[in-house]
């Protein structure tokens, strides 16, 4: 997904001399082309993420359209105050591109996992948070991000290239996408969980359950109208995310459902307020399995829940 995003960004950067890309000494293989377009607009600031965010702020205050890249734990958790004051409060056009969100860095351990980033940023006014779920979403998001006004966090996950959306997308930041229409049960997934949930749908269908699948790529601003509509149509609503269930997509949806007095059953799937190390040590597949976030485990949880 990152590759598709950066290829699209490069196309725009060729014709738009305001686009700058800053990196904090990571992602060497992704940026060779961008560097060739204009080495003056590609800057490796070094291992200095807080510095990078504020350099981006200064560039944006001087009319530049700035993209910052690192892995999500370093890009977000390390720099929250710079993001709060200098990007959000000043409402600047800076895009934060976070790779390896969730616990995709597997055995690299907790320092390299990001399970809190959505929660941290969701509480900051002016911030927009989008997690693309497949290559089509990533490409459309790259295009939409160019002229987007205000700070935008783009949450990339595992660098696989799943295909979820069969046809051309109607993509708009802030608007959820109905991937597949079913009945009774609604699954709302974001980012890296969209594809595993799509696979889980097939397992559920074999069991006679035909849910609706919604891609909530934008976690903030949330597509409140769509969630309200779902609340009226489904007996069971599930959110699925590779993030702590506190503060992420599940929390955001729960806030809407609680306020409108949703009478159905609601469950958040994600990491249940623990560090990923509590699941054990291992690769991403191992951790996802322990977290109950593989297609099989997601399907099992849903089947169990809807029987209640």
């Amino acid at each position: 997904m990152r590759k598709v995003f950066f290829q699209t960004l490069e196309q725009y950067a060729k014709g738009n001399r305001d686009i700058f890309l800053l990196v904090a000494d990571l992602g060497v293989k992704f940026f060779q082309n961008f560097k060739k377009i204009d080495p003056q607009r590609f800057i490796n600031v070094g291992v200095a993420e807080s510095n990078m965010v504020d350099i981006a702020a200064g560039l944006a205050m001087s009319g530049k359209n700035v993209f910052c890249y690192s892995i999500t734990p370093f890009l977000i958790s390390k720099t929250v105050e710079q993001i709060k004051i200098d990007l959000c409060y000043n409402n600047l056009n800076v895009k934060l591109l976070g790779a390896g969100s969730g616990f995709i860095y597997g055995a690299e351990g907790v320092t390299h996992h990001a399970i809190e980033d959505i929660g941290l940023l969701r509480s900051l006014p002016n911030m927009t948070i989008v997690a693309p779920g497949d290559n089509k979403e990533a490409e459309a998001l790259a295009k939409a991000s160019i002229d987007y006004q205000g700070p935008l966090f783009i949450r990339f996950g595992r660098d696989i290239n799943p295909v979820v959306h069969a046809k051309d997308l109607q993509f708009k930041i802030g608007k959820g996408i109905i991937v597949e229409q079913g009945s009774n049960v609604c699954l709302m997934a974001t980012g890296t969980m969209l594809y595993p949930v799509k696979v889980a749908m097939e397992i559920l269908k074999e069991q006679g359950v035909h849910p609706t699948l919604i891609s909530l790529h934008t976690i903030k601003p949330l597509d409140v109208d769509l969630i309200k509509e779902c609340a009226g149509n489904y007996k069971n609503i599930f959110t699925i995310e590779e993030h702590n269930i506190i503060g992420g997509l599940g929390s955001a949806v729960a806030e809407v459902l609680a306020e409108i007095g949703y009478q159905g059953a609601f469950l958040r799937l994600g990491l249940a307020d623990k560090f990923s190390s509590e699941l054990g040590i291992g690769g991403p597949d191992y951790l996802l399995d322990k977290a109950g976030l593989t297609p099989q485990k997601i399907a099992e949880t849903i089947l169990e829940e809807i029987k209640k």
Partner: protein, 270 residues
């Protein structure tokens, strides 16, 4: 002389062990691990006061690996020193294992801090050194930093703090291999003149060839380097040291060797 031969032999074993751990698990950071070997071997076998029977002994010297991505070297040295079971290395970075590719705080396993996100170790070390001073404790705090890590502003905050509090029980060791993840340090953030920077901030500084056992031993023979000042050892090292085709090649920051490269490396490390 005898000491140096022994340390040289251990260093060789450690490099062989690192190669196996990394090849087996397709792990990153072999170059960054190789640059640290002689320094860690000298520290653990000649300088640090540690207790293999009780790694968490309250009287131990603290060794903080702030450049956490170099942990294969730390783990291999801890195992060789008998502070952890050698069997733990077999399960390094494996599903259900104990040791990750960046260390998690566990003094019982000789791991003093969680690291992997750069720029934390020196501040934590300053806190420990401050506590040690307050308690008039005999133990010392050694913080092992990467040179790229010195891009992080927190390092310089800790450097200023440590002099302010005259933490002469704190020793920073900089693995100055002059390469970082994406390129040469000089092309990203030029650190030079590094020695003068630390000195201007009030530290007592020595420079050594970080692969020369005699120079390391001599430099660390007396700590602190000067009474009342924190000490900094700038060790000039070679990223990928020991394997010709890895030396000074930036790609070995996170690349792992394929089968052919593994065989070649194994041959060179014999």
């Amino acid at each position: 002389m005898e000491d140096k031969e022994k340390l040289r032999g251990i260093s060789k074993e450690i490099r062989q062990e690192i190669l196996e751990m990394i090849y087996r698990t397709k792990s990153p950071h072999i170059g960054c691990s190789f640059s640290m070997v002689e320094l860690l071997v000298t520290l653990y076998f000649k300088i640090l006061s540690v207790n293999s029977a009780n790694p968490a002994d309250p009287q131990r010297d603290r060794f903080l690996l702030s450049k956490g991505h170099g942990c294969p070297t730390l783990y291999a040295v801890l195992a060789k020193k008998g502070l952890i079971e050698k069997s733990l290395l077999e399960n390094f970075a494996k599903d259900g294992g104990i040791l990750e590719q960046h260390p998690s705080y566990n003094p019982k396993l000789g791991v003093e801090i969680t690291s992997g996100s750069l720029g934390h170790g020196l501040s934590i070390g300053a806190g420990m050194a401050l506590a040690g001073k307050y308690d008039k404790a005999p133990w010392r705090v050694f913080v092992f930093l990467g040179d790229g890590e010195l891009n992080e502003g927190t390092c310089w905050e800790a450097i200023m703090f440590s002099k302010q509090h005259n933490l002469d029980n704190l020793i920073a060791i900089v693995d100055h291999n002059k390469l970082q993840a994406m390129a040469k340090s000089s092309e990203i953030i030029n650190l030079e003149p590094l020695k003068q920077k630390w000195e201007t901030f009030g530290w007592s500084v020595k420079e050594v060839d970080g692969h020369n056992l005699e120079e390391i031993l001599t430099a660390l023979a007396k700590i602190p380097f000067e009474a009342g000042k924190p000490s900094c050892l700038i060790a000039h090292t070679i990223k990928g040291k020991g394997v010709s085709f890895m030396e000074n090649e930036p790609c070995w920051h996170d690349k792992f060797p394929g089968q052919e490269e593994y065989q070649k490396a194994k041959e060179e490390l014999k």
